[in-house]
């Protein structure tokens, strides 16, 4: 995150924004502060409210209630064309009847920028996205990736203090997407503008963002850096949505110092209590799990669960295993190449340190929305 005084970007404050369509609440009291110059990603499954939030900020959608401050000014009720916010769409939205140059010049023409300056700024914006040689082409002559770069140039050419991007790489293939992610990161660094980026791809979010806001069912579940979301998920939904995870469910017993979970006759414990009434589950990251042959000595680990290898995937840097536990659930384990390797059907024991287990409240939507 950049310090505010250095940045040309605007701060954004969403204060309990709600948006209802009839009885359906697309946004249910969303509050979020985005710092000037920050790269904030709105992440979530489709229908979670991330795109609605972006549309609210852009001015394409009215809010039912709440306040929206851009650079300290309440913009609720200000029409989209007076907000001076750049938007990049998934579908490029280039004007097919204008050349690339005229597309990029369009916002400058609207703002009455004189021709000489217009020309210079268009050239600068196109150079920034490495499309400087294409000013005289028409959008229909460009590939998807090129069109999106032109769209990006058009959205930044008028120096908006805020740039919104709505799944801009969604229609592109993987290789191009990964390359453009780096380009977008570079442009963000060079401009110092506040970026708000919508995606449903958690890897993309992790690559790009300073911070990520995870959306679910019209609410924000958690806001934090990628690392915070991965290491300290606030909810089961966040834990499941970001990265691979194993969720252990069982009969819960809790005393003052620790929580124990009994799964198919075996008991595992974690040295913490969970607050609240809902029955907790344990969430474990793949690299915090280890597998051993049954009976093998496993010093240092407190918890063991018997299971069977259901899938073994060689990843180059290591191996990924899916272990079927006796209660029917599946654990995901990543192990380095050194050490034992296992084959399909091998009986194994799953070992982990209770301190690595996150105790989280059960949330039925966490599984449903991931399919």
């Amino acid at each position: 995150m950049k310090p505010a005084q250095e940045s040309k970007g605007a701060a954004i404050d969403l204060e309990s924004i709600s948006k209802a369509y009839g009885g359906f609440k697309a946004l249910d009291g969303v509050s979020l502060r985005i710092e000037p110059g920050e790269f904030m990603t709105l992440l979530g499954p489709s229908g979670s409210g991330k795109t609605t939030t972006l549309n609210v900020v852009a001015g394409f959608t009215d809010v039912t209630s709440g306040k929206l401050l851009v650079g300290g000014r309440n913009v609720v009720g200000v029409p989209a064309h007076k907000r001076n916010i750049g938007v990049v769409f998934q579908h490029y939205a280039l004007f097919t009847h204008m050349s690339v140059g005229r597309n990029v010049a369009y916002p400058l023409t609207l703002r009455g920028v004189d021709q000489a300056e217009r020309k210079a700024r268009v050239a600068r914006a196109l150079d920034m996205v490495k499309m400087g040689d294409f000013a005289h082409r028409y959008p229909s002559e460009l590939s998807g990736g090129q069109q999106q770069r032109v769209a990006l140039a058009r959205a930044i050419v008028f120096d908006p203090p805020l740039l919104l991007m709505d799944e801009p790489l969604g229609a592109l293939d993987k290789k191009l997407r990964e390359w453009l992610q780096l380009e977008i990161k570079r442009i963000h660094r060079e401009l110092g503008t506040t970026f708000v980026y919508v995606t449903h791809d958690q890897e993309e979010a992790l690559v790009l963002s300073d911070r990520i806001a995870v959306f679910n069912r019209g609410r924000i579940e958690q806001v934090g850096t990628g690392r915070e979301l991965y290491d300290e998920p606030a909810t089961l939904f966040v834990g499941r949505f970001i990265g691979d995870s194993t969720v252990l469910r069982g009969e819960v017993r809790s005393d003052g110092a620790s929580t124990a979970l009994t799964i198919a006759g075996e008991t595992v414990t974690a040295p913490r209590r969970i607050a609240g009434e809902t029955s907790p589950v344990m969430l474990l990251r793949p690299e915090k799990l280890a597998i051993r042959r049954p009976g093998q000595d496993a010093a240092g680990t407190t918890n063991r669960l018997p299971g069977t290898i259901a899938e073994a995937i060689y990843l180059g840097s290591g191996s990924k295993y899916e272990v079927r536990l006796d209660d029917g659930s599946t654990a995901i384990v990543r192990s380095p190449l050194t050490g034992d390797s296992f084959g399909l059907g091998d009986k194994v024991e799953l070992c982990f340190d209770g301190a690595d287990a996150k105790l989280l409240a059960e949330d039925s939507s966490a599984d449903a929305t991931l399919t």
Binding site: T61, D62, S65
Partner: protein
């Protein structure tokens, strides 16, 4: 802007969804056209229906007269027969033509399209005039026949002449929908059929023809409906023995000033047209959807 937040000054907004006051806007845009439609189509048709039931006095006497007079029934039957013939001729002529349009290169296709569009755009009266010149007793066809040593044949004021002329005028309405459907047929399906062991002719009849039927159907309905209401071509090319319903309507109203009877005939023609359309619409829609799927 949210209605519950009175602190915000009202600002002009771009069209956004869910603002109750804006729902009428599309209707306002369509309103002028609709008003004209009601005034210049709706009201006159209403007057015709009204007159058919009220002149000379209230009742269904005009319809009783229409369906009671053999002459009228003969004309009604002839109108349908001529329309059916015209449709048949159009299907037979248009099918290979439209097919060829899909099978040739862009240059030949342009030529073929122009051949369809130019007569389509040239004034209908002028085209009918051409047919008069061609078909009349001292016309092109008869002069050529006589020059070749044959007897002249009677073409003008015959049903054959009417069918030939009408079919030529209506042919573009058959070719264009047919072409648009055929253009969408995946020719690889024919290859697939042949690879499965079908002879080319069998592949055509079992694969291509069924896929092109929606176009045939759409074109045939349009041609038949337009033919039913044809007036100018039969009036100029036809004789007393090839009178169609439209001519009869015109005679009743303009010559005999029988608004009731003319109106009743018009209503019969109108109802026949709309019944046909109503019958065809659902089939046409589903067929089109099917054709559009691949």
């Amino acid at each position: 802007m949210s209605a519950s937040d009175p602190t915000n000054a009202p600002v002009a907004q771009p069209a956004a969804e869910g603002r109750p006051g804006w729902a009428w806007r599309p209707f306002a845009l369509a309103a002028p056209a609709l008003i004209l439609l009601v005034a210049v189509i709706g009201y006159p048709l209403f007057i015709i229906v009204l007159r058919s039931l009220s002149e000379p006095q209230w009742g269904v006497q005009n319809y009783v007269w229409f369906f009671g007079a053999p002459v009228n029934l003969t004309v009604l039957q002839r109108t349908f027969a001529i329309s059916a013939w015209v449709t048949l001729v159009c299907v037979i002529a248009a099918y290979p033509y439209a097919y060829l349009m899909t099978a040739v290169g862009p240059r030949v296709r342009l030529a073929l399209v122009l051949c369809v569009l130019i007569p389509f755009w040239v004034s209908g009266v002028v085209r009918t005039l051409s047919w008069v010149i061609l078909l009349q007793d001292s016309g092109v066809i008869n002069s050529l026949l006589r020059a070749a040593g044959f007897d002249g044949i009677k073409l003008i004021r015959t049903q054959t002449g009417v069918v030939i002329g009408m079919a030529q005028v209506l042919l573009p309405f058959m070719i264009l929908p047919l072409y648009s459907v055929m253009k969408g047929i995946d020719l690889r399906l024919m290859r697939a059929a042949q690879s499965l062991g079908a002879r080319p002719s069998r592949a055509f009849f079992t694969v291509y023809l069924p896929l092109s039927l929606p176009g045939v159907y759409a074109g045939a309905i349009i041609v038949f409906i337009l033919a039913l209401g044809f007036y100018i071509t039969p009036a100029l090319l036809g004789g007393p023995r090839s009178t169609m319903l439209s001519t009869l309507v015109q005679t009743q109203v303009l010559s005999l000033l029988q608004w009731g009877r003319g109106g009743a005939m018009g209503v019969v023609l109108l109802v026949a047209t709309f019944v046909l359309l109503a019958l065809a619409a659902p089939v046409m829609r589903s067929r089109y959807r099917e054709a559009g799927r691949h």
